[in-house]
Subunit: 414 residues, 2 copies
């Protein structure tokens, strides 16, 4: 089944709000085997809404409309749909009772605008909206289903989960889709593509591949469509097994896992603890780790040493080392990792020191130069990177790279 | 001028990412006097892209296309545009040199896919993309302008601000616009609106006001349209002077300044230094401070103490205090602030301790309970907050609130 989402509302088109509804619906529908063909955002404007409905009806079996159902003048979706489906508004007793109950519960008097919320198009199935005053509406016209819902996120979500999806499933309208995303690191998109080209070409017709690059990793999403989610899962997993033969070392996880979560899981399993010493990453590396719920089970904490005296006094970096090699050096990175491991009494540690920019670069050590050290139970090592000239991205890439090195060290040692 | 935004990419239509680009572009364009007529998201699919382009060309003067310009097989925007504009790909020397330079700087070899990024449609104006390997492309056809850009947010933003908007202005397609945003704190939106009502009503016709609320502040954006940016600046500044008479105490900055930048400026001026002790914010507060370029001039660093033993051994929090009051308490917050100030030898410090969630809450101290302490040269104080049940938002709100308290303390003491 193919669907289009139409969001109605000026606030989206002037950039006042980000349309998060569409991604939520798309994710929900995809998981139910409904393909989203297009997402269209239009103004609260009669002709424009009609044009969008006509365009959608040409391409899809299901049109999901959100927004424009409020009680005020600028909300014109209901009247526009009435005209589009050539019907008229009638009073809907159950909706009226529901609205009245809500107002009584809040001790507020209803006015005409509130009562008008109980008027619905004669030719629609009313979808009961427990969470608000505007009901959902379900229309069918020439084989296409149209569903209209309020744009308020929690009302829309209630209607999708409790009214729309159950109805579609009952009518046998949904196909099964199975997704799995492979998280890779260490190969830029183009090199990765070259390496897995023959695997990609040999994928069966019903499995599609998408590359989703980010500054530090490339995600490969496999999407399979068919009749049985069990069969699709088996087929996708089999392809991933083949992929592992080619780039196994670069795969670090699946789906929405983060590196910090994966690291946390191994540390909890082995009962080891982690500490962090940061200079150029300034707290961001610690933030990535503590973004994991329950991270206190494997994380003791961090020191951000943003000046040389602090590197000396708190982390115990030797002043002669700082003087001889400079703060951005292999020696200082290693001394920071060693120092924080001792200070916070852990088995593992990571340290970053570098020039995030925009100032502070030299010919020898340009902006973007970063040393990352990792210490484990048996070994300690450091590596130099030269990232770009953007402060924010240097902080992010340094932090993610540090996690990547840490993950490798844990794999090697455990 | 009317525009449509077309975003191309399967990841949007399966709900894997939220389309934040469109809201950013809509806001930027709207501020420049360009109306967004529609936002359309389509798949990486040839016929579908062509259909969207045809539909858009019927309604608008400018079509802004993002996405689908990566080097891999699933990115087909460039070839599709080539066909749509009836042209062919040619080698673009300047783009090639730019790509080569980026690869050389990183010590990576270029492959064919990378080199192919330098192929551009013959009939387009190439928009130089300093921030990435895929250039922007500007086409004109039957009076409509089409601009294609990568979907990576920072690359798209760079091209809009440095290539697209300046060209539209030069061609007389937009008016001169001058914006200034006033950052306020301490008044909820509705109270603020009431307080400045008569000022707002008296604004001249060519200056528009927008309220932009966020969880911790309300921004007031003044947008003036006219012919001379010098004149607009003078007029807007005069209105802001009047506004200062009414809510001067609530204004903490302008435009895109962050709280951390404003704090940093006062500290640099007074020659004082700052330290941070974090528990529930886990490094994020330190990250906000070190996101400021040049923050090492006023920031010595931080300790993330993610366990009680570390609060004791590193920050010197008394074990009896921890036992008696618990880690999330006024006493521990104050001891952390005092301890980190001493350890990192600063005049100011901030400490956070709380329950970010989802676990760890009790009846007495539910998830979202946070104590924040600030210490200055003369005083130290702590305050309790109860935020929500979302871990990520609790971390952000605690960190921003800590900076807000710090700013007030610095104002009081200096």
């Amino acid at each position: 089944m193919k669907a289009e989402i139409i969001t109605i509302g000026d606030e989206i088109l002037i950039g006042q709000i980000v349309d998060t509804n569409s991604a939520w619906i798309a994710d929900r529908f995809n998981a139910s085997g409904i393909e989203i063909y297009q997402i269209t955002s239009v103004h609260d404007e009669h002709n424009h809404i009609v044009e969008a409905l006509n365009n959608a009806a040409k391409n899809v079996d299901l049109v999901v409309i959100t927004g424009g159902l409020g009680p005020t003048k600028d909300d014109i979706t209901k009247n526009t749909l009435c005209e589009y489906f050539n019907t008229s508004l009638v009073f809907h007793e159950a909706t009226y009772e529901h609205i009245k109950k809500r107002f009584v519960a809040r001790g507020i008097d209803m006015n005409k605008l509130n009562r008008d919320q109980a008027l619905v198009p004669k030719e629609c199935t009313v979808l009961f909206n427990k969470t608000g005053t505007a009901p959902g509406m379900w229309f069918e016209k020439e084989g296409t289903i149209f569903v209209s819902m309020p744009g308020v996120p929690f009302e829309m979500k209630y209607l999708i989960d409790n009214e729309v999806l159950p109805r579609l499933l009952k009518n046998g309208k949904t196909k099964v889709i199975y997704h799995k995303t492979v998280l890779t690191q260490g190969l830029p998109e183009s090199m990765l593509a070259q390496k897995i080209e023959s695997w990609e070409t040999a994928l069966p017709e019903f499995i599609k591949l998408a590359y989703l690059p980010s500054p530090i990793s490339v995600r490969l999403r496999l999407s399979a469509t068919g009749n049985s989610s069990e069969e699709l899962k088996v087929a996708v997993d089999a392809e991933i097994e083949k992929l592992k033969q080619i780039i196994g070392d670069n795969i670090f996880g699946y789906n929405n896992e983060t590196l910090a979560e994966i690291i946390g899981r191994s540390l909890v399993k082995s009962g080891n603890k982690l500490a962090v010493a940061e200079s150029c990453t300034g707290g961001y590396l610690s933030h990535l780790i503590t973004s994991v719920a329950g991270s206190s089970a494997f994380y003791n904490g961090s020191v951000t040493a943003y000046s040389n005296p602090i590197k000396e006094s708190v982390l115990g970096v030797d002043s002669s080392v700082l003087e001889k090699y400079g703060a951005v050096s292999e020696q200082v990175a290693i001394a920071m990792a060693t120092g924080v491991k001792r200070l916070l009494k852990t088995e593992y540690s990571v340290a970053t020191t570098g020039i995030a920019g925009p100032g502070g670069g030299t010919d020898e050590k340009p902006v973007g130069t970063v040393w990352i050290a990792i210490a484990g139970k048996e070994s300690i090592k450091a590596k130099k990177f030269v990232f770009g000239d953007n402060r924010e991205r240097n902080i992010i890439r340094s932090s993610q790279t540090a996690l990547q090195m840490l993950r490798q060290l844990i794999l090697d040692e455990e």
